[in-house]
């Protein structure tokens, strides 16, 4: 019997160690595989403006800029809509049936695969953007950074909306009732009491949504136009770190090319780690700090 307990404990420990080893190996693989291009290009890789497999010149700047542009633009487009939806569900909809329906709906939409959003974007968003571009007098590519951002914004909306609704649940009903009893209007309660109360939770939700947007691959690959030059405006064709890997990895023309893409993956991973860690830090430290203080 004691022997069996030891074996059981050993199996659990073995699993935990396996996870740690696999994860270290994961990072190690990225590091060793990108070493070749890191040796050639050094830290200048990050600021290099040219990505040319023919001349074997690789710099990540067009894709870093493309990633940041699409993600932040998506966040900006999405924020007012997701906040409104989250506030509606968290502050205005009080019927449990309606709230349940809404949460099921939001969950389902969050589960639509990225490749389907890409498909939909090509069929619906791209023609609309094309029309807008003709009105504005810019080249009517349709695809590009702007179209990607719109679809990305729609993709992160369910997540940000349900995050906002969840944190609004943390506002004690007594505080809301007290404010209403003092004669505040609903709008004053939401803007003056509830939102300030949960601001750190919302900030964390925004960061976690950003972390998702940065690494989002398929929809962006299908919509961004896959150009390897530095984007000059939000209507430019471009590429993100993820989309250039998705579109070029299988057709890598040399070892250096493949190694440069491993380095792109490492850059992308570092970016998302930093953003996610910041989000989690706000969650763990902010939750306590806001208590009793509005």
């Amino acid at each position: 019997m004691i022997m069996n307990d030891k074996i059981y404990s050993g199996i659990l420990k073995g699993t935990a160690i396996l996870f740690v080893v696999l994860f270290s190996g994961f990072i190690g693989t990225l590091a060793t595989n990108s070493w070749e291009s890191l040796e050639i290009f050094g830290l200048g890789f990050l600021s290099g403006r040219e990505w040319n497999p023919v001349t074997v010149q690789f710099g990540a700047w067009p894709f870093i800029l493309g990633t940041l542009l699409t993600s932040f633009l998506a966040l900006a487009i999405s924020l007012p809509f997701s906040l409104a939806t989250g506030i509606l569900l968290g502050e205005y909809v009080k019927s449990p049936g309606l709230a349940r329906f809404a949460s099921v709906f939001v969950n389902l939409l969050a589960s639509i695969p990225s490749v389907v959003f890409g498909l939909w974007g090509l069929a619906v968003v791209v023609p609309l953007v094309q029309r807008l571009q003709m009105v504005l007098g810019v080249p009517p590519y349709g695809v590009g950074i702007f179209s990607s951002s719109i679809v990305l914004a729609i993709m992160i909306m369910p997540f940000m909306a349900s995050m906002t609704r969840e944190v609004l649940k943390n506002v004690p009903e007594s505080v809301r009732h007290g404010a209403l009893a003092l004669g505040m209007t609903k709008q004053e309660v939401v803007l003056g009491i509830s939102l300030p109360y949960v601001r750190s939770g919302i900030a964390a939700g925004v960061l976690l949504a950003l972390g998702r947007a940065l690494g989002e691959t398929m929809a962006v690959t299908m919509l961004i136009g896959n150009a390897t030059r530095v984007p000059s405006s939000i209507f430019s064709l471009g590429n993100t770190l993820a989309s250039v890997i998705a579109s070029q990895f299988n057709e890598a023309e040399s070892d250096v090319h493949r190694s440069a893409m491993m380095l792109l993956a490492l850059v992308l991973l570092s970016l998302t780690f930093i953003i996610n860690a910041a989000g989690r830090k706000i969650i763990s430290s902010g939750a306590g700090r806001n208590h009793g203080r509005i």
Partner: protein, 284 residues
């Protein structure tokens, strides 16, 4: 009442309040409308492609009539099956470690690994599995695709299993151990069965999460226009078919991409609803 009616400040506040309500309501309705349009577009465009041959035949060269996505359906089942077989036992063991030895150093480390895995973009997982498996085995394969998806599935499943294990009353384990049941039998015979339905939910959510993943399959399962049942060979998958077909210049293939998207979305929705329905049954 009368006194308030003449109060300019009060009226302004009431008007501001009404305006704010619309400011909240209108964007929400727009979000709802957009999302409804997405689901409707997928349904209307996808349903045109559906017929028995679509499910039963493999890819035909362009121009030949018929042809379907049977290779993708079988490939997806194979890749998802491998992913589940690999990730579910590992996730259960990891969750047991997190719950039973929650304060140990190894658990802290394990939690960090699971959290970090959760945040890794799926394309990066594809790249690493390519380096691990495709390079060393010399070929794209269903097996490497399954492993890539398993890595994505593990954090979701581990976290949700850990949550349901924590819900099992401590008295169950205490009673078992005080009766002299060895620790391992109490864990496997009492803790896990008590959490069985929660574990199934977690696995369902995990599979729903990975069934639409495309990026990590590009460099691992790769895709295959023919029916393939060998896990060591390149394999098609429904998401890969959507991506490949919509990139093609043929209208017929575009229609099939929408058909495949409809099947994928219907599968993911059904799985999510099943998990949701089980959860409400539990709470009643």
């Amino acid at each position: 009442m009368g006194a308030f009616d003449h109060d300019e400040g009060y009226r302004l506040r009431v008007r501001k309040n009404a305006a704010f309500t619309w400011l909240v309501l209108l964007p929400s309705l727009l979000v709802l409308a957009i999302l409804a349009v997405i689901v409707l577009t997928v349904f209307l465009k996808g349903v045109k492609a559906l017929n028995p041959r679509f499910f039963l035949e493999t890819q035909k060269p362009f121009g030949d009539p018929g042809g379907g996505i049977a290779n993708g359906i079988v490939g997806s089942v194979m890749v998802l099956g491998i992913a589940a077989l690999v990730s579910v036992p590992l996730s259960i063991l990891a969750a047991l470690h997190l719950v039973e030895k929650s304060s140990s150093f190894l658990s802290t480390l394990l939690r960090l690994v699971v959290d970090s895995l959760q945040g890794i973009p799926s394309i990066v997982i594809g790249v690493v599995i390519y380096a691990w498996m495709v390079v060393s085995l010399g070929s794209f394969s269903a097996f490497s695709g399954g492993i890539a998806l398993a890595l994505i599935m593990i954090p979701t499943v581990t976290t949700s299993i850990q949550e349901v294990l924590l819900l099992v009353p401590a008295s169950y384990m205490e009673a078992a151990i005080s009766l002299g049941v060895p620790r391992w039998r109490a864990s496997l015979g009492i803790l896990l069965p008590a959490a069985k339905s929660g574990i199934l939910n977690g696995v369902g959510l995990g599979i729903a999460r990975i069934s639409g993943e495309t990026a990590p399959l590009l460099f691992t399962a790769f895709g295959n226009p023919f029916m393939n049942l060998n896990a060591a060979k390149p394999t098609g998958a429904i998401p890969l078919i959507i991506y490949e077909y919509i990139k093609s210049p043929y209208a017929d293939w575009h229609e099939k991409a929408w058909g495949a998207a409809l099947i994928l979305v219907a599968f993911v929705f059904a799985l999510n609803m099943a998990v949701g329905a089980r959860k409400t049954d539990k709470s009643r």
